[in-house]
């Protein structure tokens, strides 16, 4: 099974100190009040995925956020996934609906 996480905030089970320090070192941030991890630095994002997968003992993918409609969506079903060097990493993108929707695109352009 694959676990889908949202890079803006996700929960992890309690981890030992060394693993927690490693996560922070790799670029995660921890909100004590909400108990949520979020991504602060994307320089080691591939290593973050490995570390989180190791903690959750499962494959992990992150949601993408659409720059046009603002929704979070998964890379599953993307036509370009084989050519993408950042697949399943939490970056901004354009969802497939927005990409083909001409009307939506023209509305988006009026923002500029």
């Amino acid at each position: 099974m694959t676990i889908v996480l949202n890079g803006k905030g996700f929960k992890l089970p309690r981890v030992e100190k060394e693993k927690f320090v490693n996560l922070i070192h790799l670029g995660l941030d921890y909100d004590r009040n909400a108990g949520l991890f979020s991504i602060k630095s994307y320089n080691n994002i591939e290593k973050v995925i490995d570390a989180v997968s190791d903690i959750l003992k499962d494959d992990v993918v992150f949601l993408q956020s659409c720059i046009r409609c603002g929704k979070d969506f998964s890379c599953r079903g993307c036509n370009y996934i084989d050519l993408c060097t950042t697949k399943n990493l939490p970056f901004s993108c354009v969802c497939s609906q927005c990409l083909k929707d001409r009307k939506n695109f023209e509305t988006y352009l009026t923002q500029f």
């Binding site: 991504i39 720059i67 370009y80 993408c84 060097t85 901004s92 354009v94 352009l109």
Partner: protein
């Protein structure tokens, strides 16, 4: 001033605002946060990632929006210790006088060193150390950009910098940008055609825009069929094939188009053409004319450097003119390739290394530079050893038998 219509689209649609930059939103946010608030904790930032993803565009647009004046040194400048100190030291030692004007938007200077991974060789000697000293003493933010941050010489710089990684721009984002340009340029484009251009670009926005312009500028219409030509770019046409097409051309326009779609190294190609021109033009007047065009191309190649790609069309034009001095006189011939200069450097590498070792030994004993040893000492030592191979000089300079043999038999130095 150049008309807007005459501009390359990469220039015309160069991001003016931060929001105009496609992709890498996370890196943009981190950079802006540093430039606005956190530049006191880390004085320098290193932006790294593949070409054409918006590193330089972000620096320029963010500086413009936040009111910084950019003092830029890029790969076309010599970046030795002396040159960096001459430009960067004054720029980073004083806050801009503009700070004291009534203009509230002025925030001071930023020093921008583009393509720092290109600081190499003798010309840029001491460059990295000079940058480190400037970072330590600087009063203004220092921004650096590189494609490959993992090279050894950048290691000390990385320790002093906030590192921000740029990723290849995703295909859907490139398609979205191409759609926007099509709308602004009144081009009717098939979605599949834009998709193909974006896929072909491999995350390089600059090359995607160039492809779009070259395929659709004339007809204002773009179909999937039109993009079939792009396939050839991915096939990586060999130098031999490019030369064959170049020399057998019938007109300038044909050559220009072929060159625009070729992916051979510009410098190697220029050298190869120079080597092959005497085979192509047997008439001396034609040959002289062709070399004249090649010299213009060489001039533009120098001016292009790694930054001024808007001059590329002039480079192509000059090359194309050299190919079409007399199209009727073309007869197939065997090309000289790779370029003679490169072959010579390859074959003489062993000899050059040996001579360098010898000059090093002379320099150490006589307290002179390698250059002085090579020009002022080697000819005399060679003459002495040719007459008396067992001269005491051999022991004094600690020459090996191979080095003595090399010196006595060398024909030129």
């Amino acid at each position: 001033m150049q008309a807007q219509t005459d501009l390359l689209w990469v220039e015309k649609y160069r991001p003016k605002k931060i929001d105009d930059i496609t992709g890498n939103d996370e890196a943009k946010a981190l950079f802006l946060e540093w430039l606005k608030n956190k530049r006191h904790t880390k004085k320098a930032v290193l932006l790294y990632g593949p070409p054409g993803v918006g590193k330089t565009a972000l620096v320029l647009s963010a500086s413009r929006e936040l009111g910084f004046s950019v003092i830029e040194m890029n790969a076309s400048d010599t970046r030795s210790e002396k040159a960096i100190n001459a430009i960067a030291k004054p720029a980073t030692s004083y806050k801009a006088l503009d700070n004291f004007t009534e203009n509230a938007k002025v925030s001071g200077n930023v020093l921008f060193l583009d393509e720092v991974d290109g600081i190499a060789g003798n010309e840029d000697r001491g460059g990295v150390n000079a940058i480190l000293k400037i970072i330590e003493a600087s009063l203004v933010p220092i921004i650096m950009a590189a494609n490959d941050p993992d090279i050894e010489k950048l290691r000390p710089l990385k320790k002093e910098c906030l590192l921000i990684r740029f990723q290849q721009v995703r295909i859907p984002l490139i398609i979205a940008l191409l759609q926007k340009i099509c709308l602004l340029e009144h081009i009717t484009a098939e979605f599949e055609a834009l998709e193909r251009i974006a896929q072909n670009s491999k995350g390089d926005v600059r090359s995607a825009i160039n492809d779009l312009q070259s395929l659709s500028e004339e007809n204002h219409r773009l179909s999937l069929q039109d993009t079939m030509m792009l396939t050839s770019r991915n096939k990586d046409i060999s130098m031999d094939e490019t030369l064959r097409r170049y020399f057998s051309t019938q007109n300038i326009a044909e050559t220009s188009t072929m060159l625009a779609f070729s992916s051979v190294d510009y410098d190697d190609f220029l050298l190869s053409i120079s080597d092959n021109l005497p085979k192509r033009y047997t008439d001396l007047t034609e040959l002289a004319k062709a070399y004249d065009y090649i010299s213009h191309a060489d001039l533009f190649r120098g001016r292009i450097g790694t930054e001024n790609w808007h001059l590329l069309k002039y480079f192509y034009n000059a090359l194309a003119e050299a190919s079409a001095v007399n199209p009727q006189s073309y007869k197939p011939f065997t090309f000289v390739t790779p370029p003679i200069r490169i072959i010579t450097l390859f074959w003489t590498k062993g000899k050059r290394t040996m001579l360098d070792t010898i000059c090093g030994k002379i320099g150490a004993q006589c307290h002179v530079s390698h250059k002085t040893a090579k020009h002022d000492f080697v000819p005399y030592i060679r003459a002495i050893l040719q007459k008396k191979p067992k001269s005491p000089l051999v022991v004094w300079f600690k020459f090996t038998p191979e080095e003595v043999d090399f010196l006595t038999k060398m024909s030129r130095y």
